[in-house]
């Protein structure tokens, strides 16, 4: 997202917080950073994040900037959300090829690694009815149940 976002377009129909471990949406809150208009703050659901679970967050659908322009995926995320492989390998090899003439091989390999890393996330989103081409940006994290090894370290 490179432009300030219209906060009115960030709703529960365009922002999904998903417990990817159970496949169930979470009732989390979220708000746009008022200073930048570009940073999304997501708050845990009541009772906190489920420990040991992977949480996926996706912004999807019709989101607009304050100027009324559609907010769309970055070029890198556009490729990374593809269902097809972007390269025929994930390590440079003599017979490795980029799937798109637009992408030099090394760039394609990097994007393919990202695509494979995001594959479980998109599988979870598709399971709740969100098509991958509708996703503007998505990320995931896993909630750890362990305390920090060094006290005082957040």
């Amino acid at each position: 997202m490179s432009a300030p976002i219209d906060p009115a377009t960030l709703t529960h129909s365009t922002v999904l917080v998903l417990d990817a471990t159970t496949g169930q949406p979470l009732d989390s809150g979220f708000a746009l950073d008022p200073d930048t208009g570009q940073v999304l703050h997501v708050t845990p659901p009541a009772g906190g994040w489920p420990v040991g679970h992977q949480i996926a967050i996706a912004v999807h659908g019709e989101v607009f900037s304050v100027a009324g322009e559609p907010v769309v995926a970055s070029p890198a995320f556009f490729f990374a959300r593809a269902a097809r492989p972007i390269a025929t390998c994930v390590e440079l090899a003599p017979d490795c090829r980029s799937a798109s003439p637009l992408l030099p091989l090394e760039q394609a390999i990097g994007l393919e690694r990202l695509r494979q890393g995001l594959a479980p996330l998109f599988a979870g989103l598709e399971a709740v009815g969100i098509a991958r081409e509708q996703v503007i940006v998505a990320w995931a994290f896993t909630v750890s149940g362990r305390r920090p090894a060094i006290r005082g370290v957040p």
Binding site: P70, V72, A73, S74, P75, F77, F78, F79, R81, A82, A83, R84, P85, I86, R97, S98, A99, S100, P101, L102, P104, L105, E133
Partner: protein, 416 residues
């Protein structure tokens, strides 16, 4: 690295020269520019006895006396189809390019004194058209393309000795290209179109030698004709996109783009024998396609589209044999030929699915009054099926071509 369209512009540039070229010369050259010559399978370099000598051998004009004008067209009908191989499966029944018919007009005019002649000709020496389905398997290499050229060829010919004629001229060739293909964006596809204009400048020279005959041989005529190489620099072309995903609108946008197409030198050498009312000529053509080693497309506005792809063509050769017989008031012609194409299997694609081919032709000419002569000819171009080793599309190609030529000659009273 020999992989084909590693970058987006590569296939665009390559498509400049694309197509099944259903003519009697490999690559994208057309060597049929008169009905009389076409009826003899193009074996006309030594004969060159009408105003179409402006193309076939300018030295042939040196014999001319008075005014000659000729106009006509060659209808080039061709098509190509791709079918599955063990390396790649295509839809059942294969995929076909649309059959296209392109009229290639020819106009010649010359005036001579019997020893010195001047003239000018206009013809299409390079021209192609291909129309594959929008959604076909090879759409990332090419969908549609056309290359249109018109060569204007002012010429002077001289006969310094009774047995020797020489001639030469300059060629000015405006060209326009329009080609489309799809660009694979993995998660989507976008249409691309390259259009450009260029002008190439070259020259041509020729010589004929007449050897008196003896016995049943009425005479021997030797001829050689050379056309120079030149480059078509499409250096102010436009590259446009259709249905571009909005996510990539910052990375891809309409831009200026440039490429160069190198056209070959050609040399034709022929020998003809006149016996009674018959003339028989053998001919060998050399086409310097080996200068066509790569295609490079550059865009200062959009460097992501810069690309170079190998072509690695080798020289092309064509052997021809033609005969003309006078039967009453009619001249009847026939010819055969064989064309060794210049495209290696490794770079063979739907851009130029070229292959070796047999040429079979027949034609006739007849007076249409005291000053007009009508000529008609048909040439069948019988391509050999060919399997590509191109990594992106290793399929088998089958092409066909039919050329139909019409020419009407006007000769002023007393002209020969």
């Amino acid at each position: 690295m020999r992989s084909y369209p590693l970058r987006a512009g590569a296939a665009l540039a390559a498509a400049l020269v694309l197509g099944p070229a259903p003519a009697g010369a490999g690559g994208f050259e057309v060597l049929e520019h008169g009905a009389a010559a076409t009826g003899m399978a193009g074996a006309f370099t030594a004969k060159a006895d009408d105003v179409s000598a402006l193309f076939y051998n300018p030295a042939g004009l040196a014999d001319q006396r008075g005014l000659q004008v000729a106009a006509g067209t060659v209808l080039v009908t061709g098509g190509a189809s791709a079918s599955s191989t063990t390396a790649m499966a295509l839809p059942a029944g294969g995929e076909d390019a649309a059959v296209t018919t392109s009229p290639l007009p020819t106009v010649y005019a010359a005036y001579g004194s019997g020893k010195l002649a001047v003239g000018v000709g206009a013809f299409t020496q390079y021209g192609l058209k291909v129309d594959w389905p929008d959604a076909w398997t090879g759409r990332f290499l090419v969908q549609r393309a056309s290359l249109e050229t018109v060569t204007v060829n002012p010429t002077v010919a001289w006969r310094p000795l009774p047995w020797l004629g020489v001639g030469g001229g300059v060629t000015i060739t405006p060209a326009a290209v329009d080609l489309r293909r799809s660009l694979d964006l993995v998660a989507a596809e976008t249409g691309t179109r390259f259009r450009g204009e260029a002008t190439g400048v070259g020259g041509n020279v020729g010589v004929v030698v007449d050897v008196p005959g003896a016995g049943p041989v009425g005479g021997v005529r030797l001829g050689a004709s050379y056309r120079s190489r030149y480059d078509l620099d499409f250096d102010d072309g436009s590259l446009t996109f259709a249905d571009l995903p909005i996510e990539l609108s910052g990375a891809l946008h309409d831009a200026r783009a440039a490429t160069t197409v190198k056209v070959p030198d050609t040399l034709s050498v022929g020998a003809g024998v006149r016996a009674g009312r018959m003339f028989v000529q053998a001919q060998l053509d050399w086409l310097n396609w080996s200068r066509f080693q790569e295609l490079r497309l550059t865009s200062a506005d959009l460097p992501a589209m810069d690309t170079t792809i190998p072509q690695d063509w080798h020289d092309g050769w064509v052997a021809r044999l033609g005969v003309e017989a006078e039967v009453g008031e009619t001249r009847v012609r026939g010819g055969i030929g064989y064309d060794w194409n210049p495209v290696p299997e490794e770079t063979l694609g739907p851009i130029i699915p070229d292959s070796d081919r047999f040429l079979l032709s027949a034609g006739a000419g007849r007076r249409l009054g005291s000053t007009l002569v009508g000529e008609l000819a048909v040439m069948a171009v019988l391509f050999r099926d060919r399997t590509s080793a191109l990594a992106e599309l290793p399929v088998e190609y089958a092409n066909f071509g039919i050329l139909t030529a019409f020419t009407v000659h006007y000769r002023s009273a007393g002209a020969r």
